[in-house]
C-alpha cells in the first residue's frame, strides 16, 4: 500500500469518529437546552405562584391592620398596613415582568392592581381620619366588597397559574423523560456502531496493507541479502584487489587479493584509515603518493593512480600497481564512499622492460647495418686506391689517387662523427632542435629513400625546439619514417611537416611533426591496435614493437602520437602526428633509456 493511501485511512479513522461524536454532542446540547428551558419555565411558574400568594397575604395583612385601626383608633394597629406598602408595590412590579407575554394573566393582574389602588385610596382616607368613611357601615360594606373582589382576583390568578403550570409540566416533562431518552440512547448506539464498524473496517485495511508491506520488506531484505552475497562473492573472486572506504577514508571492505597485496587481514583492516592499510609510494623517488581517497573527494570522479606507484605491504614487500579509484554514489547521487581497484603489474613491467630492450636491440641492429653500409663504400674505394697506388709510377696519377683516398677517408670520418653525435646519450633532458634531428635521421635513410625513388617533400615552417632526450625522439622519428618508407613503396611520396603547436585547452605549447605517405593507409580499426605490442601489418618483417615503444617515449615526454589517414590527393596513405611539448614532463624521476 502506498504511504499516501495509508495516511488517508489514518485520517479517516480519526476524523470520522470525531465528526460523529460532534454530531452527538450537538444533539445532547440541544436536549440539555430543552431540559434547561423546561426547568426554567417551571421555576418561573413557581415564582409567579409564590409572588401571587405573597401579594394576597400582604394585602390581607394590610386590610386587617387598617380595620384594627378603624375599630380601635390605635395607630399601632397600622403597622402591617404601613409595612406592606413597599413589598406590595414590589410584588406588583415583579409579577408585571414575570407575566409579560401571558395576556390573560396580565389582564387579571391589571384588574387586581386597579381594585387594590381603589381600596388603598379609601384606606388612606380612613387612616387620615376621614369621618365619612370611619365607622360608616355603608362604606365598610363597599370596602368589604372591594376586598372580596381583590381576593377573588388573586385567587383566580392563582388557580389559572396552577393550571398553566400543570399544563406546562404535562407538556414538557413526560416528553423529555421518555422519547428524548430513547432517541438519545438510539442515536448514541447508532453512532457508536457506525464508529466501531467504520474503524474496524479501516483498521482491517491498514492491517492487510501492513501485512503486505511486511511481506514486501521481507522479500526485499532477502533479495538485498542475496544480492549482497552475490556481489561479495564476485568481489572476492575477481583478480583485482578491491578496497571500499567510507567518506572519512576508513576501510569498510577488502577482498582477498587486496588482503594478499597489502598484507592486512580484512578483519584487521576494517575501520582503519586507508593510508595505514594501502601504503603507496612513488616507485623511484620513494616519496609517499597522494591518498586516492583525497583525490576522489576533490575531483568527484574516477581517477587513475600516477605511473610508477608502488604498494608497500605490511611485511615490507613492494608491488608495482596499476590502480583506479572511483566515488561510490548513493541513490540521491551523493558520494557515500570511495572504491579502489588495483592489481599487481610488477611482472607486466618486467616483461615490458624486456620487450623495450628487445626493440632497442632491433633498432641497434638496423642502425649497425646502416652504418656498415655507409662506411663500407668509402672503405672499398680507399682499399682500391691503395691497390692502384702500389704499382702506379706516374706522380700525377699517384697524387690524384691520394687525394681521392683522403676524400673517401674524410667521408668515412664524417659519417662516423654524424652517427656519434646523433646517438650520443644524455642523462637529463636537453634542448633538441627538431629540424636538425629530422635531417640527421634523413641522412641515415636517404639511401633507402633513393633506392625506392621516393619523392620527399619537406615543410619546415619555422625552427622548432623542444626539451627532451634526443636519442629517444630520434628513435620515434626513425620508426615513423621507416614505416612511411615501407608503406610508400617504390616511387611513392612522403611529406615531413614540422611546425610549432600553440597551446590548447588540454596541452601546452610545443611542436608537431607530421609524416604523411602515399601508401595504402590504415585499415579500419587498426589505428589503435597499431600501438599495441606485437601488432604488426608487416608480417615477418616487423617486430610489432616500434609504435608501442614510440608511444611510450612520446608519452614519457608528455606528448602524444596519433595515426590517421591523410585523405589528400597526393598523400593518400597514413599520417603520423607526433606532438611534443616545449617543456618535457620526462626528467628527474627516471633517466632516459639509452638506445644501444
Amino acid at each position: 500500500m502506498k504511504q499516501r493511501e495509508f495516511r488517508r485511512i489514518l485520517r479517516q479513522a480519526v476524523y470520522v469518529p470525531i465528526l460523529l461524536l460532534l454530531l452527538l454532542a450537538v444533539f445532547f446540547i440541544a436536549q440539555l437546552r430543552r431540559f434547561s428551558n423546561a426547568v426554567n419555565d417551571l421555576h418561573r411558574a413557581d415564582l409567579i405562584t409564590n409572588s401571587i400568594i405573597d401579594l394576597q397575604k400582604l394585602i390581607l395583612d394590610q386590610e386587617t391592620g387598617m380595620r384594627g385601626y378603624e375599630l380601635t383608633g390605635d395607630p399601632a394597629m397600622l403597622a402591617p398596613y404601613t409595612a406592606g406598602m413597599q413589598p406590595i408595590q414590589q410584588n406588583f412590579a415583579d409579577l408585571g415582568s414575570l407575566l409579560s407575554g401571558n395576556s390573560a394573566q396580565e389582564q387579571r393582574l391589571t384588574t387586581l392592581s386597579q381594585r387594590y389602588q381603589l381600596w388603598l385610596s379609601r384606606a388612606r382616607r380612613i387612616v387620615a381620619n376621614d369621618k365619612t368613611l370611619i365607622n360608616n357601615p355603608e362604606a365598610d360594606e363597599e370596602n368589604k366588597i372591594l376586598m372580596d373582589n381583590i381576593r377573588s382576583d388573586a385567587h383566580q390568578m392563582l388557580v389559572t397559574q396552577e393550571k398553566q403550570r400543570e399544563e406546562q409540566f404535562l407538556r414538557e416533562t413526560p416528553y423529555v423523560t421518555k422519547a428524548d431518552l430513547l432517541t438519545t440512547l438510539l442515536a448514541a448506539f447508532i453512532i457508536g456502531l457506525i464508529v466501531a464498524i467504520f474503524t474496524r473496517q479501516r483498521l482491517r485495511t491498514v492491517s492487510r496493507s501492513y501485512d503486505a508491506t511486511l511481506a514486501e520488506v521481507e522479500q526485499h531484505t532477502r533479495e538485498a541479502h542475496e544480492s549482497r552475497q552475490r556481489f561479495k562473492t564476485t568481489l572476492e573472486s575477481i583478480g583485482d584487489g578491491v578496497i571500499a572506504c567510507d567518506m572519512r577514508g576508513r576501510v569498510q571492505f577488502m577482498n582477498a587479493i587486496a588482503a594478499s597485496l597489502t598484507g592486512w587481514a580484512a578483519e584487521d583492516a576494517t575501520g582503519r584509515p586507508l593510508t595505514e592499510v594501502f601504503h603507496i609510494i612513488h616507485e623511484e623517488t620513494r616519496e609517499p603518493a597522494e591518498n586516492p581517497v583525497k583525490v576522489v573527494q576533490r575531483l568527484k570522479k574516477v581517477v587513475g593512480l600516477a605511473n610508477h606507484t608502488a604498494l608497500v605491504s605490511r611485511d615490507g614487500r613492494e608491488y608495482v600497481i596499476d590502480d583506479s579509484a572511483a566515488p561510490i554514489l548513493g541513490p540521491d547521487g551523493k558520494m557515500t564512499g570511495i572504491v579502489l581497484v588495483f592489481h599487481d603489474v610488477t611482472e607486466q613491467r618486467r616483461t615490458e622492460a624486456a620487450l623495450i630492450a628487445g626493440e632497442k636491440l632491433a633498432v641497434a641492429g638496423r642502425l649497425a647495418a646502416s652504418i656498415a653500409h655507409e662506411i663500407h663504400n668509402p672503405l672499398d674505394s680507399v682499399s682500391n686506391l691503395l691497390f692502384l697506388l702500389k704499382e702506379e709510377k706516374d706522380p700525377a696519377r699517384r697524387d690524384e689517387y691520394l687525394t681521392m683516398a683522403e676524400q673517401e677517408l674524410a667521408r668515412t670520418m664524417q659519417i662516423s662523427r654524424t652517427m656519434l653525435s646523433l646517438y650520443r646519450e644524455s642523462k637529463a633532458p636537453v634542448t633538441v632542435d627538431l629540424k636538425d634531428l629530422i635531417e640527421g635521421v634523413m641522412l641515415l635513410l636517404e639511401r633507402r629513400i633513393a633506392m625506392q625513388q621516393i619523392d620527399m617533400a619537406y615543410e619546415f615552417v619555422e625552427p622548432c625546439t623542444v626539451e627532451g632526450f634526443p636519442a629517444e625522439i630520434r628513435q620515434v622519428v626513425t620508426n615513423v619514417l621507416v614505416n612511411a618508407i615501407e608503406a610508400a613503396g617504390m616511387k611513392g611520396r612522403i611529406r615531413i611537416r614540422l611546425r610549432s603547436a600553440p597551446a590548447e585547452e588540454f596541452r601546452g605549447a610545443g611542436a608537431m611533426i607530421e609524416v604523411a605517405d602515399s601508401g595504402p593507409g590504415i585499415q579500419n580499426g587498426d589505428a589503435h591496435r597499431l600501438f599495441r605490442p606485437f601488432f604488426t601489418t608487416k608480417g615477418e618483417k616487423g617486430t610489432g614493437l616500434g609504435l608501442w615503444v614510440s608511444m611510450g617515449i612520446v608519452q614519457k615526454h608528455g606528448g602524444s602520437i596519433r595515426l590517421s589517414n591523410c585523405g589528400e590527393a597526393q598523400y593518400t596513405g597514413a599520417c603520423a602526428s607526433i606532438y611534443l611539448p616545449s617543456k618535457t614532463l620526462a626528467g628527474l624521476d627516471h633517466p632516459a633509456s639509452p638506445v644501444a
Binding site: 653500409h373 663500407h376 663504400n377 672503405l379 674505394s381 682500391n384 692502384l388 681521392m404 633506392m451
Partner: protein, 130 residues
Amino acid sequence: MSKPFILCVDDEELGLQIRRAVLERAGYSVRTALNGPEGLDAFSSEPIDLVVLDYSMPGMHGGDVALEMRRLRPTVPIILLSAYVNLPTEVTRIVDCSMLKGDGPELLLSKIQEFLSERAGGMSHGGGRE
C-alpha cells in the same frame, strides 16, 4: 686476343670509377653503368663476359638486375658486391659469388679470374694480370 669484357654496375660514381681503374690495370675491358636499367641495356647489347654488380641502387636493386641477366644469358658469371652484410638468400642464390665492399681488390680480382677461367674452359683468353 681480345681482353675479357667486364660490366660494373654501381650507383656510387666515385667508387665505380676507382673500381674501373683497378680492373683496367688488371687487364680487363670495363663497361660501367650507374643503375640497374642502364646495366641491363649494356648487358643485352654488348658481349659481356662477367658482371660486378652492386646490391643497393635506386629504383632497381642488384637482386632484380641479376635475375634479369640470368634470364637473358644464364652462363655469364655475376659477382654481387655490396656494402651490406647478410644479404637475403634469395638474392645470393642467383649470383655466382657475393662479396663485401672493403674485402679488397685482390680478392675481387682472384674471383674474377677464377670465374673467367671456369667459363672459358678450353677457350683461350687473354685474361689475367700478365
